[in-house]
Protein backbone atom coordinates (compact mmCIF):
# COMPACT_ATOMS: atom_id res chain seq x y z
CA UNK A 1 0.00 0.00 0.00
CA UNK A 2 1.18 3.49 -0.87
CA UNK A 3 1.02 5.40 2.39
CA UNK A 4 2.33 8.58 0.95
CA UNK A 5 -0.53 8.70 -1.56
CA UNK A 6 -3.03 7.81 1.17
CA UNK A 7 -1.80 10.60 3.38
CA UNK A 8 -1.90 13.02 0.50
CA UNK A 9 -5.53 12.15 -0.16
CA UNK A 10 -6.35 12.38 3.51
CA UNK A 11 -4.90 15.89 3.74
CA UNK A 12 -6.75 16.96 0.62
CA UNK A 13 -9.96 15.51 2.01
CA UNK A 14 -9.60 17.23 5.35
CA UNK A 15 -8.93 20.59 3.69
CA UNK A 16 -11.95 20.22 1.44
CA UNK A 17 -14.06 18.88 4.27
CA UNK A 18 -13.20 21.72 6.60
CA UNK A 19 -14.67 24.18 4.10
CA UNK A 20 -17.77 22.06 3.61
CA UNK A 21 -18.06 22.12 7.37
CA UNK A 22 -17.79 25.89 7.48
CA UNK A 23 -20.69 26.27 5.04
CA UNK A 24 -22.66 23.38 6.55
CA UNK A 25 -22.68 25.21 9.90
CA UNK A 26 -24.89 27.90 8.40
CA UNK A 27 -27.46 25.37 7.23
CA UNK A 28 -27.48 23.51 10.48
CA UNK A 29 -27.69 26.55 12.75
CA UNK A 30 -30.60 28.04 10.85
CA UNK A 31 -32.36 24.68 10.71
CA UNK A 32 -31.79 24.15 14.42
CA UNK A 33 -33.61 27.35 15.24
CA UNK A 34 -36.39 27.75 12.69
CA UNK A 35 -36.46 24.31 11.01
CA UNK A 36 -35.86 25.89 7.62
CA UNK A 37 -33.48 24.68 4.94
CA UNK A 38 -32.05 27.99 3.78
CA UNK A 39 -31.48 27.10 0.13
CA UNK A 40 -30.06 30.57 -0.56
CA UNK A 41 -27.14 29.88 1.78
CA UNK A 42 -24.94 28.70 -1.11
CA UNK A 43 -25.55 32.03 -2.85
CA UNK A 44 -24.34 33.91 0.22
CA UNK A 45 -21.15 31.90 -0.07
CA UNK A 46 -20.90 32.83 -3.75
CA UNK A 47 -21.49 36.51 -2.98
CA UNK A 48 -18.72 36.34 -0.38
CA UNK A 49 -16.33 35.01 -3.01
CA UNK A 50 -17.39 37.71 -5.49
CA UNK A 51 -16.93 40.57 -3.06
CA UNK A 52 -13.47 39.26 -2.16
CA UNK A 53 -12.69 39.01 -5.86
CA UNK A 54 -13.66 42.62 -6.48
CA UNK A 55 -11.88 43.96 -3.42
CA UNK A 56 -8.75 41.96 -4.24
CA UNK A 57 -8.85 43.32 -7.80
CA UNK A 58 -9.08 46.90 -6.63
CA UNK A 59 -6.38 46.47 -3.99
CA UNK A 60 -4.05 44.78 -6.47
CA UNK A 61 -4.39 47.81 -8.74
CA UNK A 62 -3.50 50.11 -5.87
CA UNK A 63 -0.32 48.12 -5.35
CA UNK A 64 -0.95 45.99 -2.27
CA UNK A 65 0.68 42.57 -2.14
CA UNK A 66 -1.00 39.17 -1.81
CA UNK A 67 -1.00 38.22 1.84
CA UNK A 68 -1.92 41.75 2.87
CA UNK A 69 -4.90 41.73 0.55
CA UNK A 70 -6.41 38.46 1.76
CA UNK A 71 -7.53 39.50 5.25
CA UNK A 72 -8.90 42.82 3.99
CA UNK A 73 -10.75 41.22 1.09
CA UNK A 74 -12.10 38.54 3.43
CA UNK A 75 -13.21 41.14 5.96
CA UNK A 76 -15.19 43.13 3.42
CA UNK A 77 -16.63 39.91 1.97
CA UNK A 78 -17.76 38.91 5.44
CA UNK A 79 -19.45 42.26 6.05
CA UNK A 80 -21.28 42.12 2.72
CA UNK A 81 -22.36 38.53 3.22
CA UNK A 82 -23.60 39.29 6.72
CA UNK A 83 -25.69 42.15 5.34
CA UNK A 84 -27.09 39.90 2.62
CA UNK A 85 -27.89 37.12 5.09
CA UNK A 86 -29.60 39.54 7.46
CA UNK A 87 -31.65 41.11 4.68
CA UNK A 88 -32.51 37.75 3.16
CA UNK A 89 -34.07 36.61 6.41
CA UNK A 90 -35.97 39.87 6.83
CA UNK A 91 -37.41 39.88 3.33
CA UNK A 92 -37.78 36.23 2.37
CA UNK A 93 -38.42 34.37 5.62
CA UNK A 94 -39.65 36.62 8.42
CA UNK A 95 -43.00 37.48 6.79
CA UNK A 96 -43.62 33.73 6.47
CA UNK A 97 -42.73 32.88 10.06
CA UNK A 98 -46.23 31.60 10.85
CA UNK A 99 -47.04 30.26 7.40
CA UNK A 100 -47.19 26.53 6.59
CA UNK A 101 -43.71 25.01 6.48
CA UNK A 102 -43.63 24.64 2.72
CA UNK A 103 -43.97 28.39 2.09
CA UNK A 104 -40.59 29.55 3.49
CA UNK A 105 -38.97 26.60 1.72
CA UNK A 106 -40.32 27.80 -1.62
CA UNK A 107 -39.29 31.32 -0.73
CA UNK A 108 -35.78 30.00 -0.02
CA UNK A 109 -35.54 28.39 -3.45
CA UNK A 110 -36.81 31.63 -5.02
CA UNK A 111 -34.25 33.69 -3.12
CA UNK A 112 -31.50 31.34 -4.25
CA UNK A 113 -32.46 31.64 -7.91
CA UNK A 114 -32.85 35.40 -7.58
CA UNK A 115 -29.43 35.95 -6.03
CA UNK A 116 -27.69 33.71 -8.54
CA UNK A 117 -29.23 35.55 -11.48
CA UNK A 118 -28.69 38.92 -9.88
CA UNK A 119 -24.95 38.34 -9.62
CA UNK A 120 -24.92 36.92 -13.14
CA UNK A 121 -26.58 40.09 -14.43
CA UNK A 122 -24.58 42.71 -12.59
CA UNK A 123 -21.29 40.80 -12.93
CA UNK A 124 -20.94 38.12 -15.57
CA UNK A 125 -21.95 34.50 -16.13
CA UNK A 126 -18.35 33.65 -17.12
CA UNK A 127 -15.69 32.17 -14.92
CA UNK A 128 -13.35 34.80 -13.51
CA UNK A 129 -9.80 34.05 -12.43
CA UNK A 130 -9.48 34.54 -8.67
CA UNK A 131 -6.09 36.06 -7.83
CA UNK A 132 -3.45 34.03 -6.00
CA UNK A 133 -3.38 35.76 -2.65
CA UNK A 134 -1.41 33.22 -0.66
CA UNK A 135 2.33 33.18 -1.41
CA UNK A 136 4.35 29.95 -1.16
CA UNK A 137 5.38 29.51 2.43
CA UNK A 138 9.08 28.62 2.69
CA UNK A 139 8.69 27.09 6.13
CA UNK A 140 6.47 24.27 4.87
CA UNK A 141 9.46 22.42 3.46
CA UNK A 142 8.67 18.76 2.79
CA UNK A 143 5.08 19.25 3.84
CA UNK A 144 4.32 20.73 0.42
CA UNK A 145 4.04 17.24 -1.06
CA UNK A 146 0.84 16.88 0.97
CA UNK A 147 -0.44 20.40 1.28
CA UNK A 148 -0.08 23.69 -0.51
CA UNK A 149 0.28 27.01 1.29
CA UNK A 150 -3.37 27.73 0.52
CA UNK A 151 -4.36 24.48 2.21
CA UNK A 152 -2.43 25.45 5.32
CA UNK A 153 -4.18 28.81 5.41
CA UNK A 154 -7.53 27.07 4.96
CA UNK A 155 -6.90 24.67 7.82
CA UNK A 156 -5.68 27.43 10.11
CA UNK A 157 -8.58 29.74 9.34
CA UNK A 158 -11.27 27.07 9.64
CA UNK A 159 -9.82 25.83 12.92
CA UNK A 160 -9.69 29.29 14.44
CA UNK A 161 -13.18 30.10 13.14
CA UNK A 162 -14.66 26.97 14.62
CA UNK A 163 -13.04 27.54 17.99
CA UNK A 164 -14.40 31.09 17.95
CA UNK A 165 -17.86 29.79 17.08
CA UNK A 166 -17.74 27.26 19.89
CA UNK A 167 -16.78 29.93 22.41
CA UNK A 168 -19.50 32.22 21.09
CA UNK A 169 -22.22 29.61 21.42
CA UNK A 170 -21.09 28.24 24.75
CA UNK A 171 -20.25 31.36 26.69
CA UNK A 172 -21.67 34.56 25.24
CA UNK A 173 -25.09 35.99 25.97
CA UNK A 174 -26.23 35.73 22.35
CA UNK A 175 -24.85 32.19 22.17
CA UNK A 176 -26.87 31.15 25.21
CA UNK A 177 -29.94 32.82 23.75
CA UNK A 178 -29.39 30.88 20.52
CA UNK A 179 -29.14 27.58 22.35
CA UNK A 180 -32.22 28.35 24.42
CA UNK A 181 -34.21 29.29 21.33
CA UNK A 182 -33.09 26.16 19.56
CA UNK A 183 -34.09 23.93 22.47
CA UNK A 184 -37.42 25.55 23.34
CA UNK A 185 -38.55 28.68 21.56
CA UNK A 186 -41.61 29.41 23.70
CA UNK A 187 -39.61 29.10 26.90
CA UNK A 188 -36.84 31.26 25.47
CA UNK A 189 -39.42 34.00 24.95
CA UNK A 190 -40.75 33.47 28.46
CA UNK A 191 -37.33 34.16 29.99
CA UNK A 192 -37.01 37.32 27.92
CA UNK A 193 -35.06 36.28 24.83
CA UNK A 194 -35.87 38.41 21.79
CA UNK A 195 -36.31 35.55 19.35
CA UNK A 196 -36.36 37.80 16.26
CA UNK A 197 -32.96 39.11 17.19
CA UNK A 198 -31.62 35.60 17.78
CA UNK A 199 -32.82 34.52 14.35
CA UNK A 200 -31.17 37.55 12.73
CA UNK A 201 -27.94 36.79 14.58
CA UNK A 202 -28.05 33.20 13.41
CA UNK A 203 -28.34 34.27 9.79
CA UNK A 204 -25.52 36.76 10.22
CA UNK A 205 -23.20 34.22 11.80
CA UNK A 206 -24.02 31.59 9.20
CA UNK A 207 -23.39 34.10 6.40
CA UNK A 208 -20.07 35.14 7.91
CA UNK A 209 -18.95 31.51 7.96
CA UNK A 210 -20.15 30.99 4.38
CA UNK A 211 -18.27 34.07 3.17
CA UNK A 212 -15.08 32.88 4.84
CA UNK A 213 -15.61 29.54 3.09
CA UNK A 214 -16.19 31.34 -0.20
CA UNK A 215 -12.96 33.29 -0.02
CA UNK A 216 -11.00 30.18 0.99
CA UNK A 217 -12.37 27.95 -1.77
CA UNK A 218 -11.92 30.64 -4.38
CA UNK A 219 -8.28 31.01 -3.33
CA UNK A 220 -7.87 27.26 -3.74
CA UNK A 221 -9.66 26.68 -7.03
CA UNK A 222 -8.49 29.96 -8.54
CA UNK A 223 -11.76 30.76 -10.30
CA UNK A 224 -15.30 31.80 -9.50
CA UNK A 225 -18.59 32.39 -11.27
CA UNK A 226 -22.15 33.15 -10.30
CA UNK A 227 -23.15 29.48 -10.20
CA UNK A 228 -20.55 28.17 -7.73
CA UNK A 229 -22.99 28.62 -4.86
CA UNK A 230 -25.23 25.90 -6.19
CA UNK A 231 -22.85 22.95 -5.96
CA UNK A 232 -21.12 24.18 -2.83
CA UNK A 233 -24.53 24.70 -1.25
CA UNK A 234 -25.68 21.20 -2.08
CA UNK A 235 -22.45 19.68 -0.84
CA UNK A 236 -22.54 21.60 2.41
CA UNK A 237 -26.19 20.75 2.85
CA UNK A 238 -25.24 17.10 2.33
CA UNK A 239 -22.58 17.50 5.01
CA UNK A 240 -25.11 19.01 7.41
CA UNK A 241 -27.57 16.17 6.85
CA UNK A 242 -24.76 13.64 7.09
CA UNK A 243 -23.80 14.90 10.52
CA UNK A 244 -27.41 15.35 11.66
CA UNK A 245 -29.17 18.53 10.62
CA UNK A 246 -29.48 20.97 13.50
CA UNK A 247 -26.44 19.52 15.24
CA UNK A 248 -23.40 21.81 15.25
CA UNK A 249 -20.59 19.31 15.92
CA UNK A 250 -22.44 17.08 13.44
CA UNK A 251 -22.00 19.66 10.68
CA UNK A 252 -18.25 19.71 11.25
CA UNK A 253 -18.00 15.94 11.34
CA UNK A 254 -20.28 15.62 8.31
CA UNK A 255 -18.15 18.10 6.37
CA UNK A 256 -14.94 16.24 7.15
CA UNK A 257 -16.40 12.82 6.39
CA UNK A 258 -17.81 14.11 3.11
CA UNK A 259 -14.55 15.78 2.08
CA UNK A 260 -12.46 12.72 2.87
CA UNK A 261 -14.92 10.30 1.24
CA UNK A 262 -14.99 12.39 -1.92
CA UNK A 263 -11.23 12.68 -2.13
CA UNK A 264 -10.67 8.98 -1.47
CA UNK A 265 -13.31 8.01 -3.99
CA UNK A 266 -11.79 10.30 -6.56
CA UNK A 267 -8.23 9.25 -5.74
CA UNK A 268 -8.70 5.48 -5.66
CA UNK A 269 -11.53 4.92 -8.08
CA UNK A 270 -12.18 7.77 -10.49
CA UNK A 271 -12.30 11.51 -10.17
CA UNK A 272 -15.11 11.60 -12.69
CA UNK A 273 -17.43 10.21 -10.02
CA UNK A 274 -16.45 12.56 -7.19
CA UNK A 275 -19.98 13.88 -6.75
CA UNK A 276 -21.43 10.40 -6.99
CA UNK A 277 -19.42 9.40 -3.93
CA UNK A 278 -20.67 12.39 -2.02
CA UNK A 279 -24.33 11.78 -2.73
CA UNK A 280 -23.99 8.00 -2.55
CA UNK A 281 -22.64 8.45 0.96
CA UNK A 282 -25.61 10.66 1.80
CA UNK A 283 -28.08 8.05 0.58
CA UNK A 284 -26.27 5.36 2.54
CA UNK A 285 -26.33 7.35 5.77
CA UNK A 286 -29.95 8.28 5.34
CA UNK A 287 -30.83 4.60 4.98
CA UNK A 288 -28.69 3.38 7.88
CA UNK A 289 -28.93 6.35 10.25
CA UNK A 290 -31.75 8.66 9.13
CA UNK A 291 -31.02 11.19 11.87
CA UNK A 292 -27.42 11.58 10.65
CA UNK A 293 -24.14 10.64 12.33
CA UNK A 294 -24.59 12.71 15.49
CA UNK A 295 -28.30 13.46 15.22
CA UNK A 296 -30.50 11.93 17.87
CA UNK A 297 -33.74 10.21 17.04
CA UNK A 298 -36.45 12.66 18.06
CA UNK A 299 -37.53 12.05 21.60
CA UNK A 300 -39.03 14.35 24.14
CA UNK A 301 -39.70 14.16 27.82
CA UNK A 302 -42.93 15.79 28.91
Amino acid sequence: MDFQYLFELLCGGVVKGSIYALIALGYTMVYGIIQLINFAHGEIYMIGAFVAFIVAGVLTLTGYSGLGILPLAALIAVIYAAAYGYTLEKIAYRPLRNAPRLSPLISAIGASIFLMNYVQLVQTPDFLPFPELVPDFEFLGDLTQFMSSVDVVILAVTTVTMIALTVLIKYTRIGKAMRATQQDMVMARLVGVNVDRVISATFIIGSVLAAIGGVLIASRTGQINSAIGFMAGIKAFTAAVLGGIGNIPGAVLGGLVLGVAETFGAGYISSAYEDVFAFGLLVLILILRPAGLLGKAVKQKV
Partner: protein
Amino acid sequence: MLEVRNIQTYYGNIQALKNVSLTINEGEIVTLIGANGAGKSTTLMSICGVTPPRHGEILFRGQPIHHLGAEKIVSLGICQVPEGRHIFPQMSVIENLEMGAYLRQDKAGIKQDIEYVFGRFPILEKRRNQAGGTLSGGEQQMLAISRALLARPSLLLLDEPSLGLAPLIIKHIFEIIKKINSESNTTVFLVEQNANQALKIAHRGYVMENGAITLEDRAENLLSNEDVKRAYLGM
Protein backbone atom coordinates in the same frame (compact mmCIF):
# COMPACT_ATOMS: atom_id res chain seq x y z
CA MET B 1 -51.71 44.88 40.03
CA LEU B 2 -52.92 42.91 36.99
CA GLU B 3 -56.19 43.57 35.31
CA VAL B 4 -57.46 41.44 32.45
CA ARG B 5 -60.43 43.00 30.68
CA ASN B 6 -62.64 41.04 28.30
CA ILE B 7 -59.86 39.34 26.41
CA GLN B 8 -60.54 37.06 23.46
CA THR B 9 -57.74 34.84 22.20
CA TYR B 10 -57.67 32.72 19.07
CA TYR B 11 -55.55 29.90 17.67
CA GLY B 12 -56.09 30.46 13.96
CA ASN B 13 -59.89 30.59 13.72
CA ILE B 14 -60.42 28.61 16.88
CA GLN B 15 -61.49 30.86 19.70
CA ALA B 16 -59.96 29.63 22.96
CA LEU B 17 -60.86 32.58 25.21
CA LYS B 18 -64.34 33.97 24.71
CA ASN B 19 -64.43 36.67 27.30
CA VAL B 20 -62.05 36.58 30.19
CA SER B 21 -61.80 39.25 32.86
CA LEU B 22 -59.96 38.95 36.11
CA THR B 23 -58.09 41.01 38.64
CA ILE B 24 -55.05 40.16 40.72
CA ASN B 25 -54.08 42.40 43.60
CA GLU B 26 -50.56 42.95 44.89
CA GLY B 27 -49.50 40.31 47.42
CA GLU B 28 -52.29 37.85 46.66
CA ILE B 29 -52.29 34.21 45.69
CA VAL B 30 -55.08 33.86 43.15
CA THR B 31 -55.95 30.51 41.65
CA LEU B 32 -57.65 29.64 38.39
CA ILE B 33 -59.35 26.27 38.21
CA GLY B 34 -61.23 24.59 35.39
CA ALA B 35 -61.58 21.41 33.37
CA ASN B 36 -59.19 20.30 30.64
CA GLY B 37 -59.41 22.56 27.63
CA ALA B 38 -61.18 25.34 29.54
CA GLY B 39 -58.55 27.87 28.48
CA LYS B 40 -56.41 28.21 31.60
CA SER B 41 -53.05 27.85 29.89
CA THR B 42 -54.19 30.13 27.10
CA THR B 43 -55.04 32.78 29.68
CA LEU B 44 -51.48 32.66 31.05
CA MET B 45 -49.96 32.69 27.57
CA SER B 46 -52.12 35.69 26.68
CA ILE B 47 -50.92 37.59 29.73
CA CYS B 48 -47.30 36.77 28.82
CA GLY B 49 -47.65 37.87 25.21
CA VAL B 50 -46.96 34.46 23.68
CA THR B 51 -50.51 34.19 22.32
CA PRO B 52 -51.63 37.84 22.45
CA PRO B 53 -55.38 38.43 22.72
CA ARG B 54 -57.19 39.59 19.60
CA HIS B 55 -59.61 41.75 21.57
CA GLY B 56 -59.70 43.19 25.05
CA GLU B 57 -56.94 44.62 27.18
CA ILE B 58 -54.50 43.65 29.88
CA LEU B 59 -53.19 46.23 32.33
CA PHE B 60 -50.19 45.76 34.58
CA ARG B 61 -49.80 48.39 37.28
CA GLY B 62 -52.21 50.48 35.25
CA GLN B 63 -50.25 50.28 31.99
CA PRO B 64 -51.54 48.36 28.96
CA ILE B 65 -49.29 45.40 28.11
CA HIS B 66 -51.39 43.37 25.65
CA HIS B 67 -49.59 44.85 22.63
CA LEU B 68 -46.09 44.23 24.02
CA GLY B 69 -43.77 41.41 22.94
CA ALA B 70 -43.21 38.52 25.32
CA GLU B 71 -39.65 39.59 26.17
CA LYS B 72 -40.87 43.07 27.09
CA ILE B 73 -43.53 41.68 29.40
CA VAL B 74 -40.94 39.54 31.22
CA SER B 75 -38.85 42.62 31.76
CA LEU B 76 -41.78 44.20 33.63
CA GLY B 77 -41.57 41.42 36.22
CA ILE B 78 -44.21 38.97 34.99
CA CYS B 79 -42.82 35.44 34.80
CA GLN B 80 -44.44 32.17 33.95
CA VAL B 81 -43.68 28.57 34.83
CA PRO B 82 -45.48 27.00 31.87
CA GLU B 83 -47.37 23.75 31.80
CA GLY B 84 -45.01 20.86 31.08
CA ARG B 85 -42.08 22.70 32.69
CA HIS B 86 -40.22 23.50 29.48
CA ILE B 87 -36.76 22.88 30.86
CA PHE B 88 -34.02 23.55 28.29
CA PRO B 89 -33.12 19.88 27.85
CA GLN B 90 -29.48 20.17 26.80
CA MET B 91 -28.57 22.87 29.25
CA SER B 92 -27.30 22.02 32.70
CA VAL B 93 -29.25 22.88 35.82
CA ILE B 94 -27.01 25.89 36.37
CA GLU B 95 -27.41 27.07 32.78
CA ASN B 96 -31.19 26.73 33.05
CA LEU B 97 -31.14 28.89 36.17
CA GLU B 98 -28.91 31.44 34.45
CA MET B 99 -31.38 31.60 31.56
CA GLY B 100 -34.03 32.56 34.10
CA ALA B 101 -31.88 35.58 34.91
CA TYR B 102 -31.36 36.36 31.22
CA LEU B 103 -32.51 39.98 31.51
CA ARG B 104 -30.57 40.72 34.68
CA GLN B 105 -27.09 42.25 34.74
CA ASP B 106 -26.22 42.01 38.44
CA LYS B 107 -23.87 39.01 38.52
CA ALA B 108 -23.53 39.05 42.29
CA GLY B 109 -27.29 39.15 42.82
CA ILE B 110 -27.80 36.27 40.41
CA LYS B 111 -25.23 34.19 42.25
CA GLN B 112 -26.93 34.96 45.53
CA ASP B 113 -30.33 33.97 44.12
CA ILE B 114 -28.92 30.70 42.81
CA GLU B 115 -27.65 29.95 46.31
CA TYR B 116 -31.11 30.82 47.61
CA VAL B 117 -32.97 28.38 45.34
CA PHE B 118 -30.34 25.71 46.08
CA GLY B 119 -31.20 26.23 49.73
CA ARG B 120 -34.86 25.74 48.91
CA PHE B 121 -34.27 22.72 46.65
CA PRO B 122 -31.03 21.01 47.74
CA ILE B 123 -31.50 18.28 45.12
CA LEU B 124 -30.89 20.88 42.41
CA GLU B 125 -27.50 21.70 43.85
CA LYS B 126 -26.56 18.03 43.68
CA ARG B 127 -27.61 17.94 40.04
CA ARG B 128 -26.12 21.32 39.16
CA ASN B 129 -24.10 20.10 36.18
CA GLN B 130 -26.59 17.53 34.94
CA ALA B 131 -28.49 18.19 31.71
CA GLY B 132 -31.98 19.49 32.42
CA GLY B 133 -33.60 16.93 30.14
CA THR B 134 -32.30 14.07 32.28
CA LEU B 135 -33.88 15.24 35.54
CA SER B 136 -36.92 13.48 36.97
CA GLY B 137 -40.33 15.11 36.62
CA GLY B 138 -40.29 16.43 40.17
CA GLU B 139 -36.77 17.77 39.83
CA GLN B 140 -37.72 19.46 36.57
CA GLN B 141 -40.67 21.14 38.26
CA MET B 142 -38.43 22.43 41.05
CA LEU B 143 -35.99 23.66 38.44
CA ALA B 144 -38.77 25.36 36.46
CA ILE B 145 -39.98 27.23 39.55
CA SER B 146 -36.44 28.13 40.55
CA ARG B 147 -35.67 29.39 37.05
CA ALA B 148 -38.69 31.69 37.21
CA LEU B 149 -37.58 32.97 40.63
CA LEU B 150 -34.19 33.86 39.15
CA ALA B 151 -35.95 36.62 37.21
CA ARG B 152 -37.07 38.10 40.55
CA PRO B 153 -40.69 38.36 39.37
CA SER B 154 -43.21 40.57 41.06
CA LEU B 155 -45.99 38.49 39.52
CA LEU B 156 -45.40 34.75 39.19
CA LEU B 157 -47.70 32.72 36.95
CA LEU B 158 -47.71 28.99 37.62
CA ASP B 159 -49.39 26.52 35.26
CA GLU B 160 -50.23 23.23 36.97
CA PRO B 161 -47.07 22.90 39.03
CA SER B 162 -48.38 19.72 40.67
CA LEU B 163 -49.03 17.87 37.42
CA GLY B 164 -47.72 14.31 37.49
CA LEU B 165 -45.93 14.57 40.82
CA ALA B 166 -46.04 12.31 43.86
CA PRO B 167 -48.24 13.54 46.77
CA LEU B 168 -45.27 14.27 49.01
CA ILE B 169 -43.58 16.42 46.38
CA ILE B 170 -46.86 18.19 45.64
CA LYS B 171 -47.10 19.13 49.29
CA HIS B 172 -43.55 20.46 49.22
CA ILE B 173 -44.23 22.48 46.06
CA PHE B 174 -47.36 24.08 47.52
CA GLU B 175 -45.47 24.97 50.70
CA ILE B 176 -42.79 26.62 48.64
CA ILE B 177 -45.36 28.59 46.64
CA LYS B 178 -46.85 29.85 49.87
CA LYS B 179 -43.41 30.83 51.16
CA ILE B 180 -42.50 32.61 47.95
CA ASN B 181 -45.67 34.62 48.34
CA SER B 182 -45.32 35.50 52.00
CA GLU B 183 -41.54 35.90 52.33
CA SER B 184 -40.57 37.73 49.17
CA ASN B 185 -43.92 39.39 48.64
CA THR B 186 -44.37 37.85 45.21
CA THR B 187 -47.89 37.92 43.84
CA VAL B 188 -48.90 34.48 42.57
CA PHE B 189 -51.41 33.47 39.92
CA LEU B 190 -51.81 29.71 40.16
CA VAL B 191 -53.51 27.52 37.57
CA GLU B 192 -54.35 24.11 39.00
CA GLN B 193 -56.29 20.91 38.38
CA ASN B 194 -55.56 20.08 41.98
CA ALA B 195 -58.29 22.46 43.09
CA ASN B 196 -58.40 21.36 46.68
CA GLN B 197 -54.75 22.10 47.43
CA ALA B 198 -54.77 25.26 45.34
CA LEU B 199 -57.78 26.73 47.09
CA LYS B 200 -56.23 25.93 50.46
CA ILE B 201 -53.25 28.20 49.88
CA ALA B 202 -55.01 30.82 47.74
CA HIS B 203 -56.75 33.99 48.85
CA ARG B 204 -59.15 34.11 45.95
CA GLY B 205 -60.11 31.88 43.08
CA TYR B 206 -61.66 31.97 39.61
CA VAL B 207 -63.47 29.11 37.90
CA MET B 208 -63.20 28.85 34.14
CA GLU B 209 -65.41 26.94 31.73
CA ASN B 210 -65.21 26.87 27.94
CA GLY B 211 -63.08 29.97 27.61
CA ALA B 212 -64.99 32.17 30.06
CA ILE B 213 -64.88 32.89 33.78
CA THR B 214 -68.01 31.51 35.43
CA LEU B 215 -67.32 32.06 39.10
CA GLU B 216 -65.19 34.26 41.30
CA ASP B 217 -64.96 34.24 45.07
CA ARG B 218 -62.80 34.06 48.15
CA ALA B 219 -60.97 30.72 48.29
CA GLU B 220 -62.72 29.47 51.41
CA ASN B 221 -66.11 30.20 49.86
CA LEU B 222 -65.19 28.27 46.72
CA LEU B 223 -64.05 25.34 48.86
CA SER B 224 -67.51 25.10 50.36
CA ASN B 225 -69.44 25.93 47.19
CA GLU B 226 -71.58 22.92 46.22
CA ASP B 227 -71.07 23.29 42.46
CA VAL B 228 -67.32 23.63 42.84
CA LYS B 229 -67.22 20.66 45.20
CA ARG B 230 -69.07 18.48 42.72
CA ALA B 231 -67.19 19.56 39.61
CA TYR B 232 -63.64 20.16 40.80
CA LEU B 233 -63.14 18.75 44.26
CA GLY B 234 -64.56 15.30 43.55
CA MET B 235 -66.95 15.38 46.48
